[in-house]
Point group: C2
Chain length 239, copies 2
DNA sequence: CTGCGACCTTGCCCCAAGGGCAAGGTCAAG
DNA sequence: CTTGACCTTGCCCTTGGGGCAAGGTCGCAG
């Protein structure tokens, strides 16, 4: 007949854990010897091993108790197995993300982006615009390292075309006007035309599984009612 | 500028979690607007994504804070990655164990073992012996389903040889005698002779990575001083 | 202007699955 | 007989939040 410490040692758990299983009704309390010590038999070890197997699979203790009481065991086991498979996959995905986090430089931004941001004030952009652009590229480079550079070059090259530059500058400027000012509507038309000229009917798509475009646009819209309206107009007209 | 709920929604966490990260010093408190609401910028989203990536990898929040404060980041990330790999393997092992638990019948014991246990009282074995045997095979079948049957047939077939049966019966009987009674010593000699005759110098080995033999023998020894001494003598002479 | 519902704020208590410690009883060995 | 290693119960501590209360705010509709 085993003491609690021996049982714990053999099965590889702590005595405290065994007491917890007793307290939660997972494992039946064994008989006590004359001095009040719990005395276990090998059958208890079998039960304990089963409990640990389930617990290590991440099954909550309360659920383990139910399983041991009632039946429906087989289907529950199948579900636990599926769950376990999902968790393994999730961990592998996390691991991949972590690798990217480790390899991608954690320091702020690529030099070419820093240079781009430095040019903006000289071209007439507001400080607010610079901050917004900095935030945007920070986010995009952090979350889509593979495609960020291509996207960035595409976007930043717009400043080399004086006509496009003027449109973008106007975007910056309408921040503070009334949302229903006719300039907002006019700017929307110009942006639609410029976009069609640049990309045709095939708009460049971000990773559809990502919330980043929504995040960026949400931040932009929230900072000015005029920009919010502008965004609505563009959505409507570009479909 | 984002509110806490928007940030939470975009990154896929709850607002409460973000507040917790603030409280634990993981994420800097952002500026408040005029009504006291927290207002976030895209850079905060980047930080939050990094924090979540680490948290999902199982890194404790306290550790994440240290990592973000001090450096030694690269080696820490490598270690976290190793850790993650280990956890994935452990889960896969657990899954395999779970499968065995599901496929192996959970109901007590194979019929042939039940039949064997039923024969024991008629052969002259004590109730204690029957209990012990039941416990033993329960454990062995639960933990070593592949080899249990072979082991069991080997052991149970001993009862078919009248000479061996007598020795095993005597094992049962010496339970209550004094450990230094000469019968213990004599029985040890008989057991050594019988073992040598049956197996030669090559003793049958259990899975060496398992604690089951120790568990069973520990339970046996603990139940009687005479059996404890018998075990010591056998180890000495066979070991 | 006044709702209304959806948001935000802080503060508090609650959960799982034990860990750790205290205060006392027990056991085996020297 | 003492010592050290066990055992007993009871209580508080931890992690990563969840949930609720009580109150302040927001934007929109009537």
């Amino acid at each position: 007949m085993l003491t609690i410490g021996q049982l714990a040692g053999y099965v590889g758990v702590t005595a405290k854990a065994i007491r917890v299983y007793h307290a939660k009704g997972l494992l039946a309390e064994p008989d006590r010897d004359s001095s009040g010590y719990r005395r276990y038999r090998a059958a208890d070890a079998v039960e304990l091993i089963k409990i640990r197997t389930l617990a290590e699979a991440g099954v909550p203790l309360a659920r383990i108790r139910e399983l041991r009481a009632g039946d429906g065991l087989a289907s529950a086991l199948r579900q636990i197995d599926d769950d376990l498979a999902a968790r393994i996959e999730a961990l592998q995905a996390t691991r991949a993300r972590l690798r990217r986090l480790a390899s991608g430089r954690l320091s702020p931004l690529p030099d070419e982006v820093v240079a781009y941001l430095g040019r903006l004030p000289g071209l007439g952009f507001s400080e607010r615009w610079v901050t917004l652009q900095s935030d945007l590229w920070l986010l995009v480079f952090a979350t889509h390292p593979e495609t960020a550079r291509t996207n960035f070059r595409d976007q930043s090259s717009m400043l080399d075309d004086p006509a496009l530059l003027a449109v973008v500058l106007e975007y910056d400027r309408v921040h503070d006007v009334d949302p229903h000012d006719p300039r907002v509507d006019a700017l929307a038309s110009k942006l639609v035309a410029a976009t069609r000229a640049r990309y045709g009917d095939e708009l460049p798509a971000y990773d559809p599984g990502s919330a980043i475009p929504a995040l960026v646009q949400g931040a932009v819209n929230a900072s000015s009612p005029a920009w919010g309206r502008l965004d609505a107009l563009l959505r409507e007209r570009l479909g």
